[in-house]
């Protein structure tokens, strides 16, 4: 299964490191990363792939911890959501 992780917040050291480490620890593969600074906000979009052994709940909890710790907004959403909304 594929999902999109979006990370938005004030730029600071370690955002990519912590997020990708968490994904790695949970057995998630990163397929693509794009990252930019938009209106002073750090914005990162990751395309990830995972199999049924990965628990979305656990992944969500770990990302929530980073979200709180670093004051970011992190979402993980299945890729189909975006393809269904933006592609006919």
């Amino acid at each position: 299964m594929k999902a999109i992780v979006t990370v938005v917040g004030h730029d600071q050291k370690g955002i990519i490191a912590k997020t990708s480490m968490t994904l790695f620890e949970q057995g998630v593969n990163i397929l693509d990363i794009s990252q930019t600074i938009m209106q002073d906000m750090f914005t990162m979009i990751m395309l990830i792939e995972y199999d049924s052994s990965v628990s979305i709940n656990k992944l969500n909890e770990s990302l929530n911890e980073i979200e709180k710790e670093m004051g970011l907004s992190i979402h993980i959403q299945r890729e189909e959501l975006f393809t269904s909304m933006h592609r006919i």
């Binding site: 979006t6 794009s34 395309l47 979305i56 299945r78 959501l81």
Partner: protein, 455 residues
């Protein structure tokens, strides 16, 4: 690959513009539960609902987490309960209320927010069971928490059953009086329809119609905030641009609804019914249909031009949504429940929005006079006449109309009634002070209207 702009647009819609799935509603047929003995019927009803809907809430929550889309309500709609009452041996009001209590228990057991279908369809005539069910509504709604009720009193093909209209005025009044301690809250769970639809996922009017299957998933999407924000980007542009913007936005919202509906149906192993592409407001900031109309250039919702603005909005939502879903159904359009919409509340408070204007607005939008608090001393006849007017609009225009008014006991024009949660805050709106009693007591049926020579 989807580009960054599209991804961030979706995330922003959910985070900042209140985009959500308003409801996943599971329709469950109770036809197989009919029988002469009330205890057996109640047991069958409870067992069937708790069996089919056992995983409904969990599945909804799983989808919510995986897709990152808030799903506000999980609900159940059932076969109109009047069907079960008719099949009982010696049916009584108390036996009907037993079924209502069973529905309430089953809904609580599976953890849904509401269960709809304590209903009767009497647009042409009433069976004894249907009459008993209608008479039991005030008691049933005051003794249960999650049960919602609806009665269909008219249709384009049958006309309006004025005996039922007359009865419903009294029932609405009684329901308010029996829940006087909560300012007539029972009336918030009771809808009187003309041309009721069989696959509506929204409460309080959801029931599973006669032509539906055994079990089905219907999904209602929402997103007034998203439409409002999209229109902010086209300030001052002409109506072609406005309509196009609403259509594009409705398309995206509905696609999300379609995805959730398919996913829920397949995980639960039941049929996918329809997506209802309605703009359903909530009292939350930035989730108002009235504010969309105001964004089009009206100073306050309810002023001259409101009906035209709503007509455009309602039509563009349908046009955008229809292509986005395989099966569109339910009520599909824009809802205008006064107490549930921050912009409507403000407009009613300052006098810009009146009952008469709301009635005109219902000619061009998806439902009717919805969640309107009227003075506690409004007579049953006046409520019946309000229902008759609204049913006439539905009947002649071949559309669904409804009345959900709350004659809050003790409330006077200018008072504010708090319902809390999604049901919001209702300013008490004035009704016409002249009597309609002579009209209502005539009884009989208003014949079905001509469907040609349309002018």
């Amino acid at each position: 690959m989807i580009n960054s702009f599209e991804i961030l647009e979706t995330v922003n819609m959910i985070d900042n513009e209140n985009l959500d799935i308003r409801t996943i509603t599971m329709g469950i047929s109770l036809k197989s539960c009919a029988g002469p003995d009330i205890d057996t019927v109640c047991k069958k009803v409870y067992d069937k609902i708790t069996k089919y809907a056992r995983d409904l809430v969990k599945t909804g929550e799983d989808i919510e987490r995986e897709f990152g889309i808030p799903i506000i309500n999980k609900r159940i709609s059932v076969t109109p309960i009047a069907t079960l009452v008719d099949a009982l041996e010696e049916p009584t009001v108390y036996k009907a209320v037993e079924i209502a209590k069973t529905l309430d228990r089953a809904a609580k057991e599976v953890g849904v927010n509401f269960i709809g279908g304590y209903s009767a369809l009497v647009h042409k005539g009433m069976t004894p069971g249907e009459e008993i069910l209608i008479n039991s509504i005030p008691l049933a709604l005051s003794q249960t928490e999650l049960v919602c009720s609806s009665v269909n009193v008219g249709s384009t093909r049958a006309g309006i059953n004025m005996d039922a209209v007359s009865l419903m005025g009294k029932i609405v009044k009684q329901a308010a009086q029996m829940t006087a301690d909560t300012q007539g809250f029972a009336c918030a769970k009771l809808v009187v329809f003309c041309n009721a639809v069989e696959d509506n996922p929204f409460m309080a009017g959801a029931f599973l119609g006669e032509g539906e299957g055994e079990c089905v998933i219907n999904v209602g999407v929402s997103g007034p905030g998203v439409v409002k924000c999209a229109l902010e980007q086209v300030k001052g542009k002409d109506f072609g641009v406005v309509a196009e913007t609403v259509k594009r936005t409705a398309f995206k919202i509905t696609r999300m609804g379609q995805l959730v509906a398919q996913e829920a149906a397949s995980r639960l192993g039941v049929a996918f019914g329809i997506v209802d592409l309605s703009l359903a407001p909530t009292p939350a900031k930035g989730d108002s249909v009235a504010h969309i109309l105001e964004e089009m250039g009206l100073e306050k919702c309810g002023t001259h031009g409101t009906t035209a603005a709503l007509a455009l909005l309602n039509d563009a939502v349908k046009k955008g949504g229809v292509m986005a879903s395989g099966y569109v159904g339910g009520l599909s359009g824009a809802f205008i429940p006064v107490s549930e919409d921050a912009g409507m509340i403000a407009a009613a408070k300052c006098g810009a929005l009146t009952l008469e204007k709301l009635e005109a607005m219902t000619c061009v939008c998806s439902v009717g006079l919805d969640m309107i608090v009227i003075p506690g001393d409004t007579t049953a006849e006046t409520i019946s006449a309000i229902i008759a007017d609204e049913a006439a609009i539905g009947m002649v225009n071949t559309k669904t109309t409804a009345v959900r008014v709350i004659p809050a006991p003790g409330a006077k024009v200018g008072d504010i009634v708090e319902f809390g949660g999604l049901l919001g805050t209702g300013p008490v709106m004035p009704v016409n002070k002249y009597s309609s009693a002579g009209f209502v007591k005539r009884g009989g049926r208003i014949p079905a209207p001509l469907q040609s020579l349309k002018n």
